[in-house]
């Protein structure tokens, strides 16, 4: 059994067809969240901060928030939405009455989560460009960082969603996992200036940190070797988690 591209795309298209009907209601809360942060923290708090990481505070915030938007876009999809399809709506049970196989389901869903990450991250990036907060052309590199962020958080959320006993567990995922990541991943302040010695190494485990550093490097146009580590972490971790999720999907959908 392996992934078949046309079947994976059919899974993707199912979600796209549904999203086309409901995006007006879905896009608003997720999309406005980073915009609100940008303006309240960036302009409000930023007024008291002369500079951070060598730029104005709002400019410091901008690249990290692109990743946060992408993370949120992917995360909502692979948590609540996947869980409802899996457990309540039995969407995948119906798909598996057709030639679609569990691997196609996983591939299609991950691709869709990446798509949503692209929609949210992309929209937010456009807002940044309109406000002159995205230095061109170097910040355009972030177009590659957005789907990578989506992939990573699709993989993390998928593994989580496949292993939890009930839907209430997602509140832990959001408040005890995503929120701390959001607060402590270089988005609001440079970690390396606030953490000492060993803690800096521990912080390297945080998944959001790596996309944020990649986005910041894009915005600054300064790519150091650490970019390679960030890329390796993002891709390697995604791959490992997806292999784990693949086993989970097979076990959940077939027996």
């Amino acid at each position: 059994m392996s992934i078949s591209r046309p079947y994976a795309l059919a899974v993707w298209r199912r979600n796209a067809a549904m999203y086309k009907k409901t995006w007006k209601w879905n896009i608003l809360p997720n999309f406005f969240e980073p915009v609100l942060y940008l303006f309240s923290i960036g302009i409000g708090v930023g007024a008291y901060i002369s500079e951070m990481g060598g730029t104005s505070y709002i400019a410091f915030l901008a690249p990290g928030l692109v990743c946060v938007a992408a993370m949120n876009g992917a995360s909502f999809e692979v948590t609540y939405n996947i869980y409802v399809r899996l457990v309540f709506e039995k969407t995948y049970d119906a798909m598996l009455t057709t030639p679609i196989e569990p691997d196609d389901v996983l591939a299609g869903e991950v691709l869709w989560a990446v798509t949503r990450a692209g929609i949210y991250g992309g929209c937010f990036f456009i807002v940044l460009m309109l406000f002159g907060l995205a230095p061109l052309p170097s910040s355009l590199w972030v177009i590659f960082v957005i789907p990578l962020t989506g992939l990573l958080f699709a993989a993390i959320g998928m593994v989580f969603s496949l292993r939890i006993p009930n839907i209430d567990m997602f509140s832990f995922y959001f408040t005890l996992f995503l929120t701390p990541l959001f607060l402590f991943s270089d988005v609001f302040f440079p970690l390396k200036e606030r953490l000492a010695g060993l803690w800096l190494w521990v912080a390297e485990a945080l998944p959001l940190l790596h996309p944020v550093r990649l986005a910041r490097a894009s915005f600054n146009g300064k790519f150091s070797v650490i970019v390679l580590w960030d890329l390796a972490y993002t891709l390697g971790m995604s791959l490992l988690l997806l292999l784990w999720a693949r086993r989970g999907v097979r076990n959940r959908l077939t027996n």
Partner: protein
């Protein structure tokens, strides 16, 4: 019966299939032959292993042992090829509530890699066939249970399925909707589709199915045409009335009946000729004219006698 049924190879051939969940056998060395172009009923109480059997047939549950061939292909080797030629309506309707019936059909058609214009043509055909036209463009969440069920069946036909598997298709539907659905299922069968249906409504099985297999504890305990099962397992007439066990002994003293079945106070006797028996009961029934029903024996009696209540077979 269609003349090709005897010559064509079976659409589903299951040989000694078992499925073990932990220590429990959900399906236990079950044999099943579903001939082409018939409506075949898989009957049995809840938990008998019907759904597990179906899942093994379309290859989402792997048999612990035994072999299953569908369209002559080993399901464990050819899952995609088999599933591209069959359709399954699950017990629970799986519909996208925000979308219209037409849009649901398009989404489902793409699971089979159908492309335009074939995709829309099939969708329109099924909208007409299952009489969904009046609500073809209304979001599914606004449709009644009967409409939703018809749409669920339409989805499983979108690939022009040669084998349609229906898992309890009419549970929870009102009588008029059930009748309408039965007639659609008969139409499909006449057009050459093989239908495999599970149900615990025996009237449904008797009206719809050419052949049935009664499953209990994961095994087939009886199979054949409904009329044949009634004739061989019980007797043509059923006499039915309320009585206690002690009354039964008095009333039926010396009565040689083929078989009796008691469900609570209700006693059913299966006989070749009811007249004599009724006279006898009346004679013993001093003055107290209890209501007695005489009716043709049906599949439900066979089913109950095989799966459910305690059956006392007289020698």
């Amino acid at each position: 019966m269609n003349k090709s049924t005897s010559s064509a190879p079976p659409v589903v051939e299951a040989r000694a299939i078992s499925k073990k969940f932990g220590e429990r056998f959900a399906v236990d060395h079950l044999d099943l032959d579903v001939p082409a172009r018939v409506c075949f009923g898989l009957l049995g109480p809840n938990g008998a292993g019907k759904t597990t059997t179906l899942r093994m047939i379309y290859g989402v549950t792997r048999a612990t042992s035994g072999t299953i061939r569908v369209f002559g292909m080993d399901i464990s080797q050819h899952v995609r090829a088999v599933r591209s030629r069959l359709g399954v309506t699950l017990q629970q309707n799986v519909l996208i509530e925000a979308l219209t019936p037409k849009e649901n059909l398009l989404v489902f058609g793409r699971y089979h890699l159908l492309r335009e214009p074939e995709l829309s043509r099939r969708a329109e055909e099924l909208i007409d066939f299952l009489e969904l036209r009046s609500h073809a463009h209304v979001p599914v969440r606004q449709l009644s249970g009967g409409f939703q069920r018809r749409l669920a069946i339409a989805l499983s036909l979108v690939n022009g399925a040669e084998l349609l598997i229906l898992d309890e298709p009419t549970t929870g539907l009102d009588p008029a909707v059930r009748l309408a659905l039965w007639s659609r299922i008969r139409d499909l069968r006449s057009a050459g589709t093989t239908v495999l249906i599970t149900t615990h409504y025996m009237d449904e099985a008797q009206r719809l199915c050419d052949q049935v297999a009664i499953v209990s504890s994961g095994k087939v305990i009886a199979s054949g045409a409904p009329a044949e099962l009634i004739a061989t397992r019980l007797a043509p007439e059923t006499v039915e009335f309320d009585c206690t066990s002690s009354e039964e002994a008095t009333l039926l003293d010396g009565v040689a009946t083929d078989r009796r079945l008691r469900v609570g106070r209700r006693l059913m006797l299966y006989v070749d000729d009811a007249t004599e028996l009724i006279e006898k009961i009346r004679r013993h029934d001093d003055g107290d004219r209890r209501p007695i029903i005489v009716r043709p024996t049906n599949l439900e009696d066979v089913y109950l006698s095989l799966t459910g209540a305690s059956l006392e077979a007289n020698p």
